[in-house]
Amino acid sequence: MQEEYTLQMENIEKEYFGNRVLKGVNISVKPGEIHALLGENGAGKSTLMNILFGMPVIHSTGGFGGEVSICGEKINIQSPKEAMEKGIGMVHQEFMLIPGFTLTENIKLNRERLKGNIISRLFKKDSHKFLDYKEMNRDSRRSLDMLGIGIEEWVTVAGLPVGYMQFIEIAREIDKSNIKILVFDEPTAVLAESEANNLLKAMKKLAKTGIAILFITHRLDEVMYAADNVTILRDGELVATRKKEDTNVLELAELMVGRKVEVSNKAEEESRKHKEVMLSIKGLKVNMPGEEVKGIDLDIRNGEIIGIGGLAGQGKIGIANGLMGLYETTGEIILRGEKLKLNDTKESLTKGLAFVSEDRRGVGLLLESSIEHNVTITALQIKGKFLNRYGIFNQIDSKKIREHSLKMIEDLDIRCTDPQQLTKRLSGGNQQKVCIARALTLQPDVLLVSEPTRGIDIGAKKLVLDLLVQLNKELGMTIIMTSSELAELRSICDRIAIITEGRVEGILRPGDSDRDFGLMMAGEYHKIHGKEAI
């Protein structure tokens, strides 16, 4: 164990319920080094950081394997509090600041400087002391100056631009006297470009003072600009550690995505190319919190499977939700040459769209209801199917519902005891099939499927994907599939649109290189290839 490393994590392994999410990861950071940690969603970055911070989620799920040492000293961190005492600081992605407090108060929260008064001397208790604002302001000033922030320390946080909040978080961390290592968790995700640049400069400045910095990001150019070393994780495995000088953006992109892809036979691809446009999206903006769409133009042809990929939080999920009118939407959606009324779910459903939500248990199912009820309810409400009419009164037609559900259960191979079974008793894969069955009951022209394989086991994943392909081939159904799993998109889609920062970064074929996918996901494609490359 050498003294020269501030942080060493060796052979880190972690299992969540038999699912290995980290498989022997090594990482070491020297004082004053900026070390970038790169990887897709689910690559294991967050888990690694949770281990470093001793988050309860790690210990409540059986701890981890491997060793963590700080400044050569082996440690076993049990709680975030302990991590802080050991000199590990974290700058969070979401700001953990109290809006009504001043900068100083936020920076010094729970570490206030105190000064004595009569009562405190009388009772000899710290809790009766006054706050020493003068000292506290001076400390805060020092931290803020170090970051090159010009705002006064007595301003309240509320109303400050987002860019500044990040800096206040950093100021809070570096104000801690024992800080040795600082973790930045995607700090630039919410910042504008100029703010991001400021932040990176501040990071470099900090590193010069001898603090080791661990920098988690998706953005490759930031890595190249700021980091000294880069570690790339993929599916919980350490793929490579590179010095900045020895690598370039293209290589990083390839390393980040790289996986073997079975490129399925796309012989019909050519014939599809000339088919008419089914759905045309123009300037679509969707105000979905955390997945904002900021202006998308996309043409979807009749009978194709189009994939929508990209990293989490970039807006890919927002597209399908916007098309269905579930979140506030502006722009233009043209379905079969007809303009679609926006923000009206009923209209979208009536006009032939059907949606399998990414939030299966929250939006996709009535968990307390039977399979047959789940399968038929949307068609019943939208198309008035499965109803017996008696003048102005109507009653559900249980017989038809049963017939249809049994057919769906057989067609989609839903494993259940009977159509009356409650959907909450089904496994994830079967629940997903119920969601798809519900969408199919609407007999849609366009099927929107979001994250169809999230949270279901591998066997069921394949079944669900095969089902989508089968629907596409046999019924000629146009499918828009949104997924975080690139491999999945590449295995069944005709085209894949990659969304970055709420816009289409580019459209790729499944067979295109890993490098292109990596670059697009990181939002670097344009910078390298120029606009005309699309």
């Binding site: 779910t345 939006v363 199912l365």
Partner: protein, 346 residues
């Protein structure tokens, strides 16, 4: 063995099990202390029909997602108003009964609709708001009962102004349903009309839940996000549920009053919602799920227990009104238990 017991308990519900056990226990005791069984059974059946519709009013409310309707007094007040107006207009017998219902309907619909609009603005704290809504409405109507220009000599105080605290129905339509096709079997009096009316109301509500709008309402209550994604107007469904509940409340009090023989004004409706909520919860409903079967079983168990407990308690302990205390403990205990179950894990 213990497994199967556990399964049975979770399926049947612990409170329901305790209440059933308690009910059977006091039934046995009642025989031992020598209480007349036939008259007690008549009483249970009569109260079953009498309270039934008020409990039924909880079903659309719970199904549409606003939870147990603690603002049932709103509906009750509309029913009372309808009853008062019908009496003032001089309707008697069947005409009086039906006109009371018909007159109360517009009031109930408008009140329910407005109240539904309000509930849509305070999603998440319906139960608390509903409780105080009910209290305030009762207090407001206390003033109205005095100020409204009713003249009928059987309703107003002989001296001074305002309506009496209890308005007798003897000269109009007291017992009209109870006596309809009533018969006696082994000393037990069966109020056929009352039971038919209650079961008929249940049937209507059941048919409604199987209609397109009823299914939409249930989905909106079960999972609002799901409902929105299926193109269902959740707010509208909640308003429909609230309105329906208010209408049933109005209907319920008129049926209650004809069996009781009196309209009770002023503070009487204040706590009526609690008994109804407790009954449906004992029947197996939760704050999020309710079925007609919960109503029937719940009202039978709850009212049955109260009917038997009263004389039994008076036999066992002579002093004080123990049965009233018992009713409060059971009623509020059950509500408390059900509320702790709300929002629990799966």
């Amino acid at each position: 063995m213990t497994e199967s017991i556990k399964e049975f308990t979770s399926k049947f519900g612990l409170p329901r099990l305790i209440i059933t056990g308690f009910f059977i226990l006091i039934c046995i005791i009642s025989v031992f202390v020598g209480l007349p069984f036939d008259s007690m059974l008549s009483d249970i059946i009569r109260r079953f029909g009498m309270y039934g519709i008020l409990v039924l009013a909880m079903v659309p409310a719970i199904q549409s997602g606003i939870g147990p309707n603690f603002a049932l007094p709103l509906g009750i007040l509309c029913g009372l108003l309808g009853g008062m107006i019908s009496m003032e207009l001089g309707f008697v017998d069947a005409m009086g009964f039906w006109s009371a219902i018909i007159i109360s309907l517009p009031f109930a619909i408008i009140t329910g609709w407005l109240y539904g609009l309000m509930l849509n603005k305070i999603k998440g704290s319906e139960m608390l708001v509903a409780t105080y809504m009910g209290f305030s409405a009762v207090a407001f109507m206390c003033i109205m009962w005095i100020l409204l220009p009713f003249k009928h000599p059987e309703m107003v105080w002989p001296i001074g102004r305002g309506l009496r605290v209890t308005v007798s129905l003897d000269s109009t339509y007291a017992q009209i349903l109870n006596k309809f096709w009533a018969f006696e079997i082994g000393g037990v009096n069966i109020p056929t009309g009352l039971l038919l009316f209650f079961l008929g109301s249940c049937l209507v509500v059941w048919l409604f839940t199987r209609s397109k709008i009823g299914i939409a309402m249930k989905a909106a209550g079960d999972n609002p996000k799901f409902a929105v994604a299926s193109g269902i107007n959740v707010d509208r469904c909640r308003i429909i549920g609230t309105t329906l509940s208010t209408i049933l409340g109005a209907l319920g009090i008129i049926v209650y009053a004809q069996s009781f023989g009196f309209f009770q004004l002023y503070m009487a409706p204040q706590f009526m919602a609690f008994g109804a909520v407790a009954a449906i919860l004992i029947g197996g409903a939760s704050a999020k799920r309710a079925k007609i079967s919960h109503v029937i079983l719940g009202v039978f168990l709850f009212q049955g227990m109260l009917t038997v407990a009263l004389p039994v308690a008076n036999e066992l302990i002579k002093e004080g009104s123990l049965s009233e205390v018992l009713r409060f403990i059971v009623q509020n205990g059950i509500i408390l238990y059900a509320l702790t179950q709300v929002g629990g894990g799966e």
